[in-house]
Amino acid sequence: MFDFLIHGFDVALSPLNIGLAVLGALLGTLFGSLPGIGPINGIAILMPLAYTLGLPAESALILLAAIYTGAEYGGRMSSILLNVPGDAGAVMTTLDGHPLAKKGLAGPALGLSAISSFVGATIAIIGLTLFAPLLAEVAVMFGPAEFFALMVFAFASMSVMMGKDPIKTAIGAVLGVLIGTVGVDSSTGVLRYTFDLPELYDGIDFVVMIIGLFAISEILLMLEHANRKDGNDGLPPLGRVFVSLKEVVACKWTMGRSGLIGFIIGILPGTGASVAGAVAYTTEKRLSDKDNSFGTGNMRGLAAPEAANNASAAGSFVPMLTLGIPGSGTTAVLLGALMLYNITPGPMMFSERPEVAGGLIASLYIGNIVLLALNLPLAGVFARVLTIPRWVLVPGIAILAFVGVFQLHSNLAAIYLMLIIGIFGYLLRKLGFSLAPVILGYVLGGLMEQNLRRALSISGGDLGILWQSGISLGLWIAAFALLVLPWLLPKLLQAKTRKA
């Protein structure tokens, strides 16, 4: 049954392919760590190169898969060090990763995130190897109604992030959802809030959104820190470099759970690493945040989204390999790469082209080991970014922000938009808002609206479709429990003790 995998390792362990996996891991880490330049760009840029070099299909795929996994590792670096997410999956990583760096624990944070990424990815790859065809069946059971229920569940799980200022968290999420409504309505084709500007027809791009919201506002906040009179210039101390075994072991269940969550969300087409990170983070906060320290630099709060986003990256290969349906933007590009080599992914691929299917999965195993080996010892080196003086660091961030947006849009309007969003982000932060709910609202809101409307057009307006299937009913109950139990449980317990 696992012939294809043995065959795959045979292929992947040739010197050329190992070399390509290392090269891809390095390039991917670099692409991922630059804000706005993520795996999609890395793959789109290198795909023609691989093709022109005349690499055989399995080698090209190994290179591209290594870039993909590498970018997932790289995305966390700027999240932790600069509070600027390198890509979509790394948004939740900023929440506890950056506070850790501020406490002088940048090195351990980078180390822990590498290990969590590795654990998450490993869980997902094993899941992919063992159950891919079976999971594909589950993935297609998710129709619009089930996706809508999933989004309701995701919003409900966010309630745990309400924190000390629930009104502002809610307003932030609503503003995020509103930003997500800009552009062509994907059902009727009507233009919403575009003000006749063609640049807004496609909506506000995710990259423009996170670079503006995080990077530009961070520059402005850094200026304030640099000008503090009280001598605390906000520059973090550089503490110890390596993560301790104790810290890793303390997060073992966090990594396991989050990896599983990330994998499951990853196999659903259309939901990505950002949703996986959010659900894993909020679940973990609920389960293990005893002293309410999530958001202030809790190791578990870092391990959860890191394990989840890497697991979801590997999980998105499931629909691609087994159904030929891309589970994410990146796998869509990979699918295009396969087509160039005249390989059509699908259930037949495992029997017809075992060297490709097996080689790809084997290269995911190898790529992750390479990445762990690269990242652990280098954590200390990367952490030194924090010691760069601000007058070098800030211009550097500005250049990265401009290049990141520009290479994607070839268009100055996108850069202006980024600056406007940056000012908006700065004001929000000064007013005591957290940025994560804004981003989550933006990501989840659109999915929620479209899937609700799809479900209701299928049912002809009958609301019953929304909880008809077992999956959606389960998700509704879970969402309800998330909202009600924290409030109800203490009361019930109280009543019990009183009776006794």
Partner: protein
């Protein structure tokens, strides 16, 4: 260079990646060519640009590699405005387009510019629409589906990867019309891209998927879907040989999705004809045929004025359909 003229008001809004703008000033001398893909990397327009870029380079038609740049926005509207407003006479610039662009032009979604505001260059390949159902579905032929659709339009949900008014929707609307059903009475669900719609079909959430032939190959092999009809003029070869056309089943629905290019409105005749010649030569070469096939496209050869007329006529047709169903006044 001449670019300066356009760099007035529009330029501040729509200015292209600096590299491109700056490079274009120099390109006039060095003949470095460029293709704009009016989308993000990795999509169909990227593929269209790369088809020309790789083809022209491999056949030695151009000596320097052709640059591919991305200009997403409004399904091509941003690039269309850019070419009309800023680089209207660049002899070395081509822009990728497809049937989808023609549909948007017909609906007036490209702003102030119309279909005859650019010079349509030619198409290098084509894909065809297809009417697809789940392998477990009760319908064995297009006829059975159509009969059922006439009686119970509310029970059959169509789905595809585009909004109302998009080229994906057009396929469903034309199919409905062929069954004497108003496209407004149809049950239609729009998804983000063909992949999601296909997944919904496999999960039985929708009953009919109006997709494109090239994206169906792996599903055909696995036997999970049944293609009731291809929306082509005649039967396709290879893995698609067993799929009947809609026309041979008595429903005159055709939906070619061509992949072609246009140039700025003020490009000289000389430069335009040079490109027409290049494209023609390319389409006739054996090497190119392989490239095109690798990308899952079928042959199509319409160039120059013939192609220009073809696009304009197509836009007219779409426009009357849009008016008919009330999408446009």
């Amino acid at each position: 260079m001449k670019i300066n003229k356009g760099l007035s008001t529009y330029a501040s809004m729509l200015m292209l990646a600096g590299g491109i703008l700056a490079a274009s000033g120099v390109q006039a001398q060095s003949d470095a060519t460029e293709c704009i893909a009016p989308a993000k990397p990795g999509g169909g327009y990227d593929l269209t640009c790369r088809l020309a870029a790789n083809g022209l380079e491999k056949t030695g038609t151009i000596d320097k590699p052709m640059a591919v740049s991305y200009m997403p926005g409004g399904i091509g509207a941003v690039a269309y405005n850019h070419v009309n407003g800023v680089r209207d006479d660049d002899p070395n610039l081509i822009v990728a387009a497809s049937t989808g662009a023609a549909v948007n032009l017909a609906l007036g979604k490209f702003g102030e510019y119309d279909a005859d505001d650019v010079r349509w260059l030619g198409a290098l390949g084509v894909d065809y629409g297809a009417i697809v159902v789940n392998a477990d579905a009760p319908w064995q032929s297009l006829d059975e589906l159509m009969e059922d659709l006439k009686d119970n339009p509310g029970d059959i949900a169509f789905g595809a990867g585009g909004t109302v008014g998009s080229q994906d929707w057009m396929k469903a609307a034309l199919t409905a019309k062929a069954a004497d059903l108003s496209p407004r009475k149809l049950k239609y669900v729009s998804f983000e891209g063909g992949g999601e719609a296909l997944a919904a079909l496999l999960g039985n959430h929708i009953q009919v998927f109006t997709g494109d032939l090239s994206e169906l190959q792996s599903q055909l092999e696995s036997g999970k879907i049944r293609v009731l009809a291809s929306l082509s003029e005649e039967r396709m070869s290879g893995p698609y040989a067993d799929i009947p056309t809609a026309k041979e089943q008595g429903y005159d629905v055709q939906w070619p999705i061509w992949r072609g290019y246009y140039m700025g409105p003020n490009v000289s005749d000389e430069a335009y004809q040079k490109w027409v010649k290049r494209m023609k030569a390319l389409s006739e070469s054996q090497k190119f045929a392989e490239l095109r096939e690798d990308r899952g496209l079928f042959p199509m050869s319409r160039f120059g004025n013939e192609f220009n007329d073809y696009v304009l006529e197509q836009v007219d047709q779409f426009e009357s359909l849009a008016k008919e169903v009330g999408l446009k006044q």
